[in-house]
Symmetry: D2
Subunit: 277 residues, 4 copies
């Protein structure tokens, strides 16, 4: 017996749940869990169906395609670990958290490689026996650096690129190469404190809560679809550096949740928003 996820996305119409679950039933597949959402603004229908049974992929997808309206997207996913490449700069905490969660079985990811624009985290990668590529940006234009990154990343054919505190802004070209497949952790409660040095900005504003945002990267800096946000209470005694330190746990938690959703095939992108089923 296999365990698969069927994701369906299409314009809403009456009877969609009945049609899709009926096809699953005719294929003698057992529905473990079914979650759906219709966006009332756009009239878009989203459904995630966890199935168990013996799959005949070709006829199942064929039956679905005949039943679903024009403009539908459906995918039948197996439960293999997602293959990812992680980009980092110097900070260890987000990378370390991912590595340790994969190590202890809390997170199921196939980390193909780690790429850094500094050598700082090479030793950590080595401890977990994962290839580390040091691709310095010094002396290179942004485009040249990204081409160098791409040459290293592309052969791994990652399903997702994870920016685990990668402190470089990406060009639209790079983003386009991994559309809705680059996940960034931003160290603020977006859209507060867009741009550089959010903890310094938060300190100057005197906020009582700090946050972090895991989001897909799109062409607009810090404006991609938000996957998860987390916060922590602080007080007047926190310097910007204290906030940065307290923020580490928040950043790790938001990124870790986002990766967990991804590994469970729960995330749909919908304009500049996400639907998490």
């Amino acid at each position: 017996m296999a365990h698969r996820i069927l994701l369906t996305e299409c314009p809403d119409s009456q009877g969609l749940i009945a049609q899709i679950t009926n096809i699953c039933y005719k294929h003698q597949l057992n529905i473990i869990r079914n979650t759906e959402y219709v966006d009332p603004g756009t009239g878009q229908f989203y459904m995630r169906t966890e199935l168990e049974g013996i799959f005949n992929d070709k006829t199942l997808l064929h039956d679905l395609d005949r039943a679903l309206p024009k403009g539908s997207r459906r995918s039948l996913l197996n439960r293999n670990a997602k293959r990812v490449v992680i980009l980092v700069t110097k900070e260890a905490h987000c990378l370390g958290d991912i590595l340790m969660k994969v190590y202890d079985g809390s997170l199921t990811l196939d980390i193909a490689a780690i790429v850094g624009n500094y050598p700082a985290l090479a030793a950590l990668a080595e401890r977990f026996a994962i290839p580390y590529h040091f691709i310095p940006h010094q002396g290179l234009s942004r485009v040249e650096h990204e081409q160098a990154l791409q040459r290293v990343i592309a052969p791994y054919q990652p399903e997702y690129v994870i920016l685990a505190k990668f402190m470089r802004i990406l060009t639209a070209d790079f983003v386009a190469a991994y559309r809705n497949r680059i996940i960034n952790i931003h160290h603020s409660f977006l859209p507060a404190f867009i741009g550089a040095n959010p903890y310094q900005q938060a300190f100057e504003r005197g906020v009582k809560i700090i946050g972090a945002t895991a989001h897909f990267v799109n062409e607009q800096l810090d404006e991609g679809p938000i996957i998860q946000q987390k916060v922590a209470a602080i007080d007047h005694s926190y310097s910007a550096a204290d906030m940065e330190k307290a923020g580490r746990d928040v950043e790790k938690a938001a990124l870790s949740d986002a990766l967990q959703f991804i590994t469970e095939d729960r995330v749909f992108v919908h304009g500049n928003k996400t639907v998490i089923l």
Copy 2:
């Protein structure tokens, strides 16, 4: 167009979602939201379906009854405000929170009456123009007092009885009269600090978090199915009285959530547990 909730509960079998949603489709009902759960331990299937359309209740229920397996329960609920009677003792905060949320539209309940074993909250009830019945327990046996309560409550025919800090233990007979329809707010994070004076117990144990539990009342004191729990962080400087004061917000939040779930017909009872869809 009407808006109704269909609740279904039965032993799991393949094709249930397809069958039920198909019947809805044939009745030209639109599914606004559908959530289901199969308990892997008991093999029990639960589904909540929000429907919109023109309902022919009789044929719809008939079609469902023909399709569903033996031992099924289904109900087709309209969205009327639930009729409730609230039992209180002396503390105002939970009652006040419910009254104010109903007043400002945050909570949709039809509060038929308030019944207290002290007169303390009569004035508050009067401010919101709700009948208050003062039924003292002094000089009465537990059974006599409950009979007096019942004589007052029964004519209101409440769908739910809410114990908003009603500080009396109920007999199995009283509980049986409103099976899975009495909701209590217990001032601890159950099952910690069962019994009397939970804040004093929490103080003596030196906990760093206090909690509250909204639950259905059953024959076992403090052991009924939990609907919602909430907590708040405290520290060494809290006396039992400080905890009690800090706990008010937690109690209000847990009870308010539970009532919200009830008003949305989201709660199934499942042995000594709840399934909230």
Copy 3:
């Protein structure tokens, strides 16, 4: 035996805690709780001292003034309930929460009057026997309306003016009349979603957490010193209206905390920030 709060604020220098607590000791006052903070950026010293004993205010303040450096501010406060005027528009939840907490003893405030630019909440004020002044803004310039507000508010001589969802922007003149004494509840996690319709903005951005901010009002709209912030998790299924409804509890909690800090004389204002001791 009286119970008083001594608040001290001055440029930091060595020995301040020793000097102040020594003076208290010589006056045979018992220190119940002492909290202090030195801002490392500005070198400003803040201290809050809860004292118990028999107070000779004149000599105590005289002794402090001799000991403290130039530019010090100190105040010796009794524990009377603060006298406040509450400004509202149409939404009941924040006002209702304050009224109910004062009613049940959770919050100690002397609510002198409620002033609304709509008549919507007059009935609620009446239920709690508090004067309600309906001061419509229609047909008046902003300045004329504020003058009308002032004519009503001033005779009450409030220590604080509370904007409990008062949906009008105040002029610098009005703000100046109650410098650091006007407390507003803003329905977003400031500085995110400054300006109008923050829940609509939050909906469009697709955030996963909403928030509310209690702050002192200054001349810059939404930029006054933040006293407290609270948040709640939401998901893709929340419309702007759902967020607004979920936000009510968050708004109430942030405002209620801020008022609690104020009643305990714990808030210092420090540029555009607060220090909460």
Copy 4:
């Protein structure tokens, strides 16, 4: 300039803060932060004073001893990393979290050694270049096993022994050897679910929140002074195994906070409670 922590604990009497801070002032020490607490039940005074300056330890302590009442305890601590030995069984997450936080600088500890009753975590220890001692309990009595543990632990002279999911009950003798210096992470929100298999117990009870408790170990199983507690919301769909997985982050967070308090010398033990200043 050195940075030290002065901890004082004694029966309360008037003028204690003045006396202690005065002595610091006479020694020309700058107070960075001072926090104190008087327990109203026991009349015990606790104070933590962060000092900066040039320390003459001998005369400072001598001056303090002359000033403080009988039964006082005071210690003047430097800011060296605490030397600890970590005991583990098979689960990696708590150990991994500590190792990674020490690695990335979030936590300042000197991990002298890791001791396990299984070999499972030897490889992880090796990755961080920390000695791992595998001390199997099979075939040994509890006392014999603890003697074997002691022979390995004692030479490291740890200030604290951390039980990072060490799944063995310790005898009173072992506990006595490290009085108030053994920190355990218990996988429930104590005092709920004392004893074995708390996640299974939580599952059976149908709770909506799970928790974890970091506490000092004393002679009574699961009854030592609580240092920190953390919780996470769950729902009906969580199996005991899902709770165990969700609980990992909660366990890590509670233990990590407790260790952070310890490294900052903020924890006083007070009967079966802690005071965290």
